[in-house]
Symmetry: D2
Subunit: 143 residues, 4 copies
């Protein structure tokens, strides 16, 4: 799928539009059908036992599919998550960043769907799998 | 279902075990088959447009079902989320707390499942619907 | 929510439009926010062990939310399922019909969402819980 | 992952244990981390408009992950689906079989999780994406 935003464009967009969370995430690279994103794991992301909490894994999946979509349709349209589902598979490795690989499965006029495989950096077995659906507003409209 | 922890017990547990997020949540009340929890909405929970972000809605659902389970099995066992799915239905009302009503649908030996209806306080129509599954470790074991 | 189709209208619609499966299902009653549907359990619905198979439980949830929507928007529009998720909670009772209670959580211009609680007839504890999302085509258009 | 059942073993198992549906499905091939299964599309699988119905797509995903698991743990244990979620992405091509590619993401002691990409045979873009979770009974026990 053709992209209309570069990795640098996406990184700037994140800083500008998501000031509360932008420091948590980094765009690793755009891929042919999606994007690779990093969650910079810090103490604030942890739950008892020292693992990254579920909501932070959800957030990584959400931002990854969101930016994978915007990279293809541009920063104008304000896509909104309508469904997000996560299977938590294994305990993340303590003190290691999480890497989410998102691929777009559908980029329609009204709905976009992507899934994400999340791993502790350097590990082969996934920590979580997620699917995200976004509603794409009609052209020329905000949310 | 019989409870073994009171609302005060659950509130103390939250403060002790989840120091990073405990200030965000409040136990409203235990119900016959679940719990009602509040997300105290602040600026840090918002996404562009002034609505509560998806990961914070996920977090409210997650903590609600988690505490609904612990209220029935006690604080010893460390249940782990294995699946969480959220349907985002409407934009939350700006500047208003979110109230999550969780009900337990199954409290088995190995798995527990609950669902949650989330509303902006005082509103009738739900903002989101979520389902959460937890794996319950065998007795006498930590995670 | 106001209905524009009666229970008899829905039953006729099912016979006419879904000849392959209509004998499996019966409209029990419309409710204030949804519908109650019955799966007439027969040998063809069973899997090893004598329980109703997962796909048949999915089918009951799917048809229940579908008819709950059509009861409110009429039989013209051809809504399409975009997401369906089922939590299987307990083994159904052998040789007993399944009853699905669907409620609509959102009936928007573009998307409709409902969830369903499924029980073996006469039992209190649910066999399954499901959520279904439908895309509603623009007025005047087929699929 | 090492397999303990061959493609022929799985096909025989399907015929023996699932007489109601076995004619609908064929084992295409085992893969390094999963299985490829075919749904032989016939009139009984269709919904209005001539597309394969949602429950039949669910059934393909369910049987694919189920056999992917049994290929690795053997036919003795009776795994039970605990969660199944499907994103329906595109209308299947009329009169064409569906091919489901399942991969196992976790094969634990208690839970197994897989996802499936489903395409109309010969097409590149997926018709549906599904995730399935199975509960695996303790050794030596039936369901």
């Amino acid at each position: 799928m053709r992209t209309v935003m570069s990795e640098a464009d996406l990184a700037s967009f994140l800083v500008r539009e998501f000031p509360q969370v932008q420091a948590d995430f980094a765009v690793e690279r755009l891929t042919a059908d999606g994007i690779v994103m990093r969650l910079r794991v810090g103490d604030r992301h942890l739950r008892p036992g020292g693992t990254v909490s579920g909501p932070n894994i959800f957030a990584l999946a959400d931002v990854a599919v969101y930016l994978a979509i915007l990279a293809r349709i541009g920063p104008v349209a304000l896509a909104v998550t309508t469904n997000g589902a996560v299977d938590f598979l294994r305990k993340p490795v303590a003190g290691v960043d999480l890497i989410g690989e998102a691929r777009l499965l559908k980029l329609g006029r009204v709905l976009a769907v992507g899934d994400v495989l999340i791993r502790s950096e350097g590990m082969d077995e996934p920590v979580a799998r997620a699917s995200m659906t976004y509603s794409i507003p009609p052209k020329g409209q905000g949310r």
